[in-house]
Point group: C2
Chain length 352, copies 2
C-alpha cells in the first residue's frame, strides 16, 4: 500500500528509516547515553516543559498508565470526562489503578466544556487533547484553568498522543502537569516508544508504582542518559533524528499539518460528507459514512487505490471513516491524496 | 564500533535490518494480522510449547513482570533462588507484586541444586535459565522436576531471555509452565519486544493483572492476530524474518553458538583467565579480571580494536568482564574475535 492514511501508525519520516538502518548500539555505552540525553532534550523542547520527559519502551497506553499510577495513589479522587475511545481508556486505567473515579459522559464527537470540570474535591483531572477516535480537539488550557480554580492542589494529566508535533502543545503554559505520548503518531517513527512529560509540580508529586512502569526509577536512571530497563534504543535514535529535523521549523510544520487536515475536510464537504467532531483536531479528519454506504465499501474503494484508512471505534464502529495526513506527507502528496479521496468516494456512491 | 560483543543488545541479523527498512504497516490490517500470527507460530516452535506465546511491546523485564503477575496472586508463596542480577530481578518483581517470597541466596557464579528447591508448600518457583550477569546455566528440567515432586500443583516460571535460540529450550518437556524472553538477544533483533510463553497448564492458571501487562487481555486479542495495544509491529516483522531463517536449521545454529562460546573460553584459558560460572551458558563468556588489571583498561583495549564488551553487575562490578557472540556472528568472524581478544588482553598486561 502506498498511502498509509491511518491516524497512527503513520507514514515514516525518511530520517526515521535512515536511523533504523544503522548497526545496533548498546545502551550502556557513551554514544548511546549521548543519544538518549539528546532525545530527552529534544522531547522537552517538543512538550515545552521545564520539567522532565521520560522515555518508556512500550506503547502510548503504557505511558498513560505510568502517568496515572505515578501521579495518583489508590483511592484518590479523579475526574475523567469520556468523549471517545482514548478518554474511555484513561477512565479504564484510572479504575484499574484503584482510584476513586468520577466519569463524565459525552456523545462521541462532542467535547467537555470548562464549566463541566469546574468542580472541587478532586486530586486530578484526566483529559485527551486530541481524541483520535472522533477527530475532536479539546481546549486544554481552558479546561485546566477551570479545574484548577476549584482544585488549586489538583494535577492535570493529558494524553497528547496525537497532538505532539501535530498541534501546538506547551505543558506548563497549558496548566497541564503531565502528558503521555508515543513515537508512531506526529513523530513519524515506528511504534514502540512511549513518553511521559512531567512538569516541575508533577515531579514533586511523583510516587513509586509497580515495577516496569515505576517512573521514580526511570527518573533516577534517565537523568544520566540511562534507563531502568533495556530501551528500544534504535527507536530513540529515530525519534531524535526526526525531532532534529522538525523542531527548528516547527511552526511551518504545524501549519502544514493544519492545512492538510483542513484540505481533507474541504474535500469531504464538497462530497456532502458530515464531519464527526464539533471541534476539529488537525490529527485526523473523521466523517460519517454516506447514507446507505457500508464502511467496507469505502475501505475497499480506498484500498483499490493503494490507500489504508481507518473506521470507527466503540459506538462509532460501522458509522464513520477516518483519514489522516499526520505522517510524513508533503503538500503535493496531500493534494494527491485529496484527488484519491474524491475518486474513491465517487466509487462508493450509487450511479446518479 | 564494528564488534558488538555485549550479551544483548547484540549484532543484528541482516534479515532483521532488511525487515526494519520496510514502509510502516498498520497493525489493524490483514497483512499485519498475518505477520503477527506467523510470528506467534514461529515463536511457539522456538519455545517448543503446545500452549501460547504472547508478544508484548516492552523489554524482557516487562515480560518477566507480566509472567509473575499473570500467574500468581498477591500473597501466594513462591520460591526464588538468587544467583545473579536477573534472578535478583525476578525476586524484586515478585516482591513488588505482593507475593510471599522465599529467597535462596547463592554467590554470583554458582547455581541452585535440585535438592535446594525440593521443598513443599509453594505455588511457584522462579528461575533464570541463562544468568547473563555471571554466564551460568541452570539445569531447568532437573530443578523443575525436584520442585514439582514436592508441589504437584506448583508452577515453574523461567527467564529464557538469553537461552531462546542460544541453548535448547522446550517449555513443557522441561517442566516449565511459563517463560519470558526478548527480541534483542538470541533473536538478533533490536530491543523493544518481550515474549511470554505459556504452557497449557499456565493458560489455565492465568489471571487478570494490571492494565498494560494484563496477559488475559493480550491472549484474547492475540488469538486473532491482534494485540491489546499498538504493537511494535516493525519489530514483529524483524523477529518473524529471523525465525524463518534460523528455525529450519536450529540444531546447526545452536551448535555454532556453543562452539563460539567455547572458543572464547578456550582463548581465556590460554590467557590464564579464570571463568566466572561453575556451569557455562553458551550465551556469554565471563572472566575474572587479571590480577591488578582494572576493568577500564580491558574495556579500552577492546575499544581500540573496535569492540564493545560488558563489565560486571552487582557484586561482580569491577571484578569481571564479559564477551558474547550470541548476536549474528559467523564462524570466521568468531575466529577474528578470538584474535582480537588475544591482542586486547596482551595489551592490558604489564610487559614481562
Amino acid at each position: 500500500m502506498d498511502w498509509l492514511l491511518t491516524p497512527g501508525p503513520v507514514r515514516l519520516h525518511p530520517k526515521a528509516l535512515e536511523a533504523l538502518a544503522r548497526p545496533q548500539l548498546h545502551h550502556r555505552t557513551e554514544p548511546a547515553r549521548a543519544l538518549f540525553l539528546r532525545a530527552r532534550t529534544l522531547l522537552k523542547a517538543a512538550f515545552r516543559t521545564e520539567g522532565e520527559v521520560l522515555l518508556l519502551t512500550g506503547s502510548g497506553t503504557l505511558a498513560m498508565e505510568a502517568l496515572v499510577r505515578g501521579l495518583f495513589a489508590p483511592g484518590e479522587r479523579v475526574l475523567v470526562p469520556v468523549y471517545g475511545k482514548f478518554s474511555e481508556r484513561f477512565w479504564e486505567i484510572a479504575e484499574a489503578a484503584g482510584l476513586s473515579v468520577d466519569r463524565l459522559d459525552y456523545p462521541y464527537g462532542r467535547v467537555p466544556r470548562p464549566e463541566d470540570v469546574a468542580k472541587g474535591g478532586y486530586r486530578g483531572l484526566l483529559l485527551v487533547h486530541s481524541e483520535t477516535s472522533t477527530g475532536a480537539l479539546v481546549d486544554l488550557p481552558a479546561l485546566a484553568q477551570a479545574f484548577k480554580a476549584e482544585n488549586p492542589e489538583g494535577l492535570v494529566g493529558a494524553d497528547m498522543v496525537t497532538s505532539l508535533l501535530v498541534k501546538e502543545v506547551a505543558l506548563e503554559a497549558f496548566g497541564v502537569d503531565a502528558a503521555a505520548s508515543g513515537s508512531q503518531k506526529g513523530l513519524m517513527c515506528p511504534p514502540g516508544l512511549g513518553f511521559v512529560a512531567l512538569s516541575p509540580r508533577a515531579l514533586e508529586a511523583l510516587r513509586p508504582a509497580g515495577y516496569y512502569l515505576d517512573l521514580t526509577r526511570e527518573l533516577r536512571a534517565q537523568g544520566e542518559g540511562e534507563s531502568a530497563w533495556t530501551p528500544a534504543i534504535n527507536l530513540v535514535g529515530a525519534v531524535a533524528a526526526v525531532l532534529e529535523e522538525v523542531l527548528p521549523r516547527l511552526e511551518e510544520h504545524l501549519a502544514l499539518k493544519a492545512w492538510q487536515n483542513d484540505l481533507l475536510y474541504r474535500v469531504g464537504e464538497e462530497l456532502g460528507l458530515r464531519a464527526v467532531p464539533e471541534v476539529r483536531s488537525p490529527a485526523v479528519a473523521a466523517f460519517y459514512l454516506p447514507e446507505g454506504v457500508p464502511y467496507g465499501r469505502v475501505k475497499e474503494a480506498f484500498a483499490r487505490r493503494g490507500a489504508v484508512i481507518a473506521g470507527g471505534q466503540g459506538p462509532l464502529k460501522g458509522r464513520i471513516f477516518r483519514l489522516s495526513l499526520m505522517g510524513h506527507y508533503t503538500r503535493y502528496e496531500a493534494l494527491g491524496v485529496a484527488a484519491l479521496f474524491r475518486e474513491a468516494l465517487a466509487d462508493t456512491l450509487p450511479p446518479s
